[in-house]
Amino acid sequence: MLLDILQTGLDGVMVGSLYAMVALGITLVFGLVGILNFAHGQSVMLGAYVCFFVESASHSFWVGAILATLAMGVFGALLERAVFRRTLGDPFAGLAVSLGLIMIVENVAAAGFTPDPRFMDPPVSGSFALGPLVLSSQRSLVLVISSALVAGFWLFLQRTKLGKAIRAMSQSRRGAALVGVRVDTVSRSIFAVGGALAGAAGALYASLFAVTPFMGATPLTKGFIIAALGGLGSVPGAIAAGFLLGLAESFGSRYLSASFRDGYGFIILILALLFLPTGLFGAGKERV
């Protein structure tokens, strides 16, 4: 029984760290430029494809994952430059534009890559025993990588100058501009960093699940739930909410009902909005 709980918990943490990677980009873009970026899920999908194609050409998951991360970082910066810069200050135009982008990217991908699901060989296979626990090697690897990336991102925000500028801007765009933060550059960099995290998440998704042009919707949905649960704009909230959602899903589907797996997070979200309207830590912007 205890073993079962531990195993389920680890599974939840693994899924949760993946969710958190996607949610960070959503919550930061929202906190900095006020845009709810629906096209963020497409970065996960494109990242998965980049990783898949590079892996099948070079037979190295690592090269694929690194290229996917870099490519999606560039993609995010390009999107900011081409589209989102024009909708600053009008959140609804930004939202509408990102909806249009979903359709463009998804259907170009469906036409270019065919809608057939593709499967990639994970870099490690089999399972190993940790005391009495039997763990899947690939899932453990994903857990380690994604936790490291989330922790690294946290350090980046706390320790680097750009991170400090991002935190300043999420508190007040005008205040940051007044003390000399280049708000344009920081906005672009947050699209790039968020995109890179989504690309890395895509590579990890590709090592676990099928790659299809429509795979972006699920991470996007989870990312939205987490961003709102943690308080829109709050980074610690998003990380905590990511793990909470992962745990809720794995325990819910293990002990309650597996067909309702995707519903648990939504119920938590509704309850949180009713009783904790500023997010888990009250860190989100009240009345956004």
Binding site: G100, A111, R261, D262
Partner: protein, 340 residues
Amino acid sequence: MTEEVARSRTQAAHVSAQKLRVKTSILPGVVGWLLLSLLLSVPIVYHSRYIVYLGTLLALQAAVVVSLNIVMGFAGQFALSQSAFFGFGAYASALLVRDLGLDFWASLPLTAAMTALLAAAVGYPAMRFTGGIHLALITFAFGELLRLLTANLHDFTGGPQGMQIAYTPGIVIGFDFGSARGLYVLACGFLLLCLLISIVVRCSDFGRALFAVRDDETLAASLGIDVTAHKVAAFTLASTLAALAGAIYGVFASFISPEMMSASDSIAIVGMLIVGGPGTTAGPILGTLIFVGLPEFLRVAKNYRLLLLGIIIVAMSLYSPKGVAGDIDRLVTGARRRGD
């Protein structure tokens, strides 16, 4: 912040000034209604199964966009759950008929009541917040959730393979609503009902309060409008109408599946409204014709159609936020001003 408030106020002033100008002439409205009735009568006169089929599809689609206009165009709330409620209505009605043995017509009020409850339960937590971001996010997540649940609850809904619908609305007062033409009349009637409701809402105190909420929530609250209640009411009304359209779609297509609730359909519906012109009466109809009608006539493959529509959404929201109806409006009023 003050800048934004000032801007939204000038925008509001601009919009109401435009409305006054439009009200001075009823000609565009009359022409619009004539064109619509002409369009609606085509499948009745023209004997082609394809035209009747396309007409029914367009009418139901337009009804959903008209209903979205109430929450998005009037109240300024970004609801991304129209196709989810469309699908919910189809399943609710079908299950009421199959499992409770109800008549199709009797299932409609029950479907409406269930949808209204569900919509209020989803909308209230999201719309307690100022601005529409939470609603966009939650309705999107809700739509995906509903689709996945429908696909997962095999025993109840038939799972991802969908459900066959064997019944028809049947003969009512000597008119066979089960025939292709009868279903077309039903769909058109429902579209006209939605248009009527949206016009009544627009002209009522409720509608004016929604416009005030859209233009400035703080100002509206200071005028004594219960902002949250108005937003929830608009969302509930829009969702209920979408669900009824779904119930009619079920008997029309005689097959329903969880794919009806896909997020891309909700996005397409929002796109139709953006392209047509949110907040206008003609906008939803124009948007539907452009989105569904044109590609259907041009026979574009489905993937390229959605790609094209994505490009149109991006271009319209960047360059013409008032939509085609807004452009026509500007052309007409601009021309008249020059003529004065």
